[in-house]
């Protein structure tokens, strides 16, 4: 199954019955799959007139208590920023998929990771965060999507799956988790479902009083801290004895892993640290690694974005080198391992 289909099927199994989206390459296979499958399971697929309409339909469906999803790619995700800020402010669960492409502007449709800042710093206005999951394999696309709906509901917060065209197009065998019984998902007493047998209530993000607004923001911050404590995910590969550790996520991490293997074959002690949650960034685990490792090599398919989080985590303790390929060129493992060797040589590592 190709990546986009994996995400769609995993969502379905997690109990997602509503999809609202607008076509954009390279993720069209996702809505296409949904348009076929959702009606089969009693769900609803709507191709909206735009990304803005989609995200607002998502808001509506989420308010009504449903598990709901939308997907797009970079420019389309930019258009959703107001809506995502609303989801954050309204404390509504939703899953948003960004199959990143090359930017800025119309750019191209090649794999890219240049929406890292937008995803992790909130491209929309205000103090909010979204959980950002960065899968690096077909199986992870599946598992993280499945998990995303639980996280979203549990914390009442939007969750972003950050992948790219390569992940979306690539076919890999996958084992799917069980189909959730939609009827048995946890209730959402806060949803607007009609004031039957209870008092009427409302959901709103307007909070005119600055004091109350501030309280609301601190409440959000406390929630985000909780998430930062509980939901950090990462993969550590051969970092135990490493002299140099590559930090990379998603597609870049796949390539980096192969580069690690090559480098190890050459006798260089290289490891890989792969953040799976980009927000919350696995700061402490990386700091743990930094207790043993003094050289870090950040590799991204962009001009340097996650590298800031690495620097923030390491705060000057270790030496951080950045290598990026912005624009959609996906380098091969040989290129990365070559640069790694150069680092070893230049810095007289090991």
């Amino acid at each position: 199954m190709r990546g986009s289909h994996i995400v769609a099927e995993a969502a379905l199994r997690a109990g997602c019955r509503y999809y609202f989206g607008y076509p954009i390459t390279p993720q069209n296979e996702l809505p296409e799959y949904m348009s076929r499958r959702l009606p089969e399971v009693g769900g609803v697929f709507v191709q909206a007139e735009s990304e803005i309409a989609s995200i607002n339909m998502v808001i509506g469906a989420s308010m009504a208590g449903a598990r709901v999803m939308t997907s797009s790619s970079s420019p389309g995700i930019s258009l959703k920023q107001e809506g995502i800020s609303y989801l954050g402010g309204l404390e509504l669960p939703a899953v948003i998929v960004n199959m990143m492409r090359g930017g800025p502007g119309l750019g191209n449709i090649a794999p890219s990771q240049s929406d890292y800042f937008q995803a992790t710093r909130g491209g929309g206005h205000g103090d909010y965060r979204t959980i950002v999951l960065a899968p690096a394999s077909g199986q992870e696309l599946c598992d993280l999507t499945y998990k995303a709906f639980d996280l979203a509901d549990h914390y009442r917060t939007p969750v972003l799956i950050l992948a790219d065209g390569m992940m979306g197009q690539m076919m890999e065998p996958v084992r799917f988790p069980v189909l959730r019984d939609v009827g048995k998902l946890p209730r959402k007493p806060w949803a607007i479902t009609g004031a039957k047998g209870r008092k009427s209530h409302f959901i709103r993000s307007l909070i005119l009083d600055p004091g109350q607004m501030e309280e609301h923001n601190w409440k959000l911050m406390r929630k985000y801290e909780q998430i930062a404590d509980a939901e950090v995910r990462f993969e550590s590969f051969k970092t135990d004895d490493a002299d140099l550790v590559i930090v990379a996520f998603g597609t870049a991490a796949r390539i980096a892993k192969a580069a690690v293997k090559r480098a190890r074959n050459e006798g260089l002690k290289v490891g890989l640290f792969r953040p799976i949650t980009l927000w919350p960034f696995p700061k402490k685990p990386l700091q743990e690694v930094a207790k043993r490792v003094k050289h870090f090599f950040v590799f991204e398919l962009n001009a340097g974005q996650m590298v800031e989080d690495v620097q923030l985590a390491l705060s000057g303790q270790s030496d951080v080198f950045f290598y990026g390929r912005p624009g959609g060129v996906v380098p091969n493992p040989a290129e990365i391992s070559r640069i790694v060797s150069r680092q070893f040589f230049q810095k007289e590592i090991g």
Partner: protein, 254 residues
């Protein structure tokens, strides 16, 4: 003596924040009365706008979910698709529905989305302090058309309702006013009809209500009503614009 007129139960006993003589106040009561009379409080879900009516959830005693500016029809679509048996209505100003929300409204209508838009046309942006609206009439002075609106520079008064009637998904569209007891009666009838058509599943419904905004027209409330009755109606004629339940010839009045 018997009480023959009082506050509807679906209108919370809270004083409005609206200006004296504001049409929103009247229209809130009308919608609340219809909900109560139809007995649909428990299935009604309202979607307030960004606009002077942003706090509508403080007044209607039904479930409500606030939309971003202009996105009422999209949000209502999301709600309605999840809860197809509920009565879902948006409440939107002219800027909200006919400027920033144009696309969302047009396409909700075109999908025959089974929702009702209550469209409050007061020819001006109330909440933000009196800027030009898509429905501002020619020559009307606003804070962003200081010399009066000029059509081919600032845009002409936009007849959204007539445009929506062109879509194949719209079922019922009527324009009324709240500037007189007769207008209020007509409005109430129209809102009720729209709700009924929605619940019958016949398609998209909308009631456009010409409404005074004395504050931004810089008129007394009564003057503002007369201005609506004599000036606005020249651009926005009252009456049924589309009704798929009408006998053949009346379906699309335009």
């Amino acid at each position: 003596m018997k009480k023959v007129f009082g506050r509807p139960k679906t209108l919370k006993p809270v004083p409005y924040h609206y200006c004296p003589g504001c049409g929103h106040s009247l229209l809130h009561r009308i919608v609340a009365e219809v909900i109560e009379e139809m007995g649909v409080e428990e299935i009604a879900i309202g979607v307030p706008p960004a606009g002077c009516a942003v706090l509508a959830y403080n007044y209607f005693d039904v479930d409500m979910g606030e939309a971003a500016h202009g996105r009422g029809a999209a949000l209502a679509t999301g709600v309605k698709r999840v809860l197809p048996d509920h009565l879902v209505f948006t409440y939107q100003g002219d800027g909200d529905i006919a400027a920033i929300g144009t696309a969302e409204t047009v396409h909700a209508a075109n999908r025959g989305e089974r929702i009702t838009c209550i469209f409050v046309n007061n020819a001006v942006y109330g909440m933000t302090g009196g800027q030009m609206a898509p429905t501002t009439i020619l020559g009307q002075t606003t804070t962003t058309s200081p010399g009066g609106r000029v059509g081919n520079r600032d845009g002409f008064p936009l007849n959204l309702s007539e445009m929506l009637a062109v879509t194949r998904g719209s079922a019922y569209i009527e324009r009324t006013s709240v500037t007189s007891p007769a207008g209020i009666r007509a409005t109430k009838k129209a809102v009720r009809k729209a709700f009924e058509i929605q619940l019958k599943g016949l398609g998209f419904t909308l009631v456009e209500v010409l409404s005074p905004c004395p504050t931004n027209l810089k008129m007394s409330p009564i003057e503002a009503c007369r201005w609506v009755d004599t000036e606005m109606v020249n651009y926005f004629p009252l009456g049924v614009i589309k009704d798929v339940t009408a006998p053949e010839e009346g379906k699309n009045a335009h």
